[in-house]
């Protein structure tokens, strides 16, 4: 509970965060940047869980430990993604998203 700040404001922030993430995912040209955008999306959810737990249902800690798990999984995900990106970089010396369009239609 942060005094003076209602849940709506925080939820608005997380929603904005979410959409910034989505926007970044769609517009960035670098794979790493896209990965960062994904993190934004995940973090929006993390904050959501914590805030909802804290503001609305403080009697149990479901949201909080959910968010911990999300952080852990997100880390694994990032690690995996980066390793694949590195593998790609070895082959084509590029991490641009426009270079991974060989398969289409």
């Amino acid at each position: 509970m942060i005094p003076g700040i209602s849940i709506y404001e925080i939820l608005t922030v997380t929603s904005i965060l979410f959409f910034i993430g989505v926007y970044g995912f769609i517009t960035r040209t670098n794979l790493i940047s896209i990965l960062i955008s994904v993190e934004l999306i995940l973090n929006a959810s993390v904050v959501n869980f914590v805030i909802i737990n804290k503001y609305l249902f403080p009697e149990a800690l479901q949201g909080v430990y959910f968010s911990i798990f999300i952080i852990a999984v997100a880390a694994a995900e990032t690690a995996l993604a980066v390793s694949i990106i590195i593998n790609l970089y070895r082959q084509i010396s590029s991490v641009e998203v426009k270079d991974i369009e060989t398969m289409k239609y």
Partner: protein, 475 residues
Amino acid sequence: MNFSSFLLMRQEIALLVIILLLVIAEIFIPKKKKVSIVHLALFLFGIHAIIGFFEIDESSLFGGMFRTNHLIHFFKNVLNIGVLILLLQSADWIQEKIVNQNKGSEFFILLFSSLLGIYFMISAGDFLMFYLGLELSTLPVTALAAYETMKRISSESGIKLILSSALASGVSLFGISMLYASTGSIYFSEVVQVLSSTNLTLLGMVLLFAGISFKISLVPFHFWTADVYEGAPISIASYLSVISKGGAVFILMILLFTVLRPLAHIWENMIYVIAIATMFIGNLFALRQQNMKRFLAFSSIAQAGFILLGIMEGSKLGTATVVYFVLIYIFSNLAAFGVIQAISLQTGKERIKDYEGLYRTNPNLSLVLMLALFSLAGIPPVAGFFGKFFLFTAAASKGFYLLVFLAVVNVTISLYYYLIVVRAMFLRKGENPIPFFRNKIYMRIGLVITVLGILLLGIYSPIYDYIYDLSSALN
């Protein structure tokens, strides 16, 4: 807590043990004998699959986070069989191409981890377990998709898969947080009691649905499918299209039928739209594919659209028909992928054009592929027909005749492209047909099992009756 209740998790624990054993084996088996890890993995998993058929009690663990019942258990067994067939079919590939890169045991470990994730996902009793299972089932597969590290398209497909799946899981998490906000719980059993239709829950439902749809590759969340199937190793494409999709269908059904039941009148319409879009888009894209894997990717999208018809029914009949269809679909699609795998392994050819004249050089393989395609197309007397007919029956039982009509239109379209492959194999002589070759024993066993499944699952009715009896579990 009674430790015997951990027996409810017998399947998961057994799989975990197998994974650990493989890790140990990887350490202790000398480099020259790494091939034997394939046999070991197959052996262990074979035992696991057989043991799986012993009954398990219906109950839940960890305060409801994990639960199991006969239907879920049965479904895990179905997945086991699917994975077993898949392993049999990929054994040769692993022996020839993977083991010498010293990546043999990882393949099994990752694959089994993913399967473990699916186990947890379908056994989930709350959103956390569901989420963890979902991620556990996806992440190893992304690694596997990029497994052929020397191939550019393999890496590409890995990236596409992991980025898309990260987005999907992010979106569904956001949805779950909304459901959590409106219900105050992440336990399915509690959520369903307080769930009512509000803006927030509806939005949550849609986002959650989008996340799962991604795995089932429903339109418009399907775009990754074709690219990833094309780039990934065939066994992984196969895994994605049958096991991963099957598990996701099952959890979608659980979520819709149990957790989101109060919103049934809303999601019914949503599924209606998605089903139509999925069938049409899947079929229309499949029409002009040249690459067998891409072709099967779109075909599997269309099949997912048909599955939604069963889900529309929304109760016991729907559950039974969907599970039955998935069972048949696993066999049919695995047969198709198996043949592609065999041919690709021998000749490296994956295009439909390369299959011209196949019947005259390799009659058995082409017959298997034909049966598989007929089963996918839904032509009697092979199993696919029964699966589809029952799905349509389920939809018609609720009066969705128009939907059924559109579905049968799509069946006709799909028949066209399945027949294109049959045409290549049987009707054309081909200038440069694939020469005759003999498959190794594992591949042959794998194909024979699928053929038996395709032929018997439909005609032998007790299987459906058994599934139907189990299906009340979801309601």
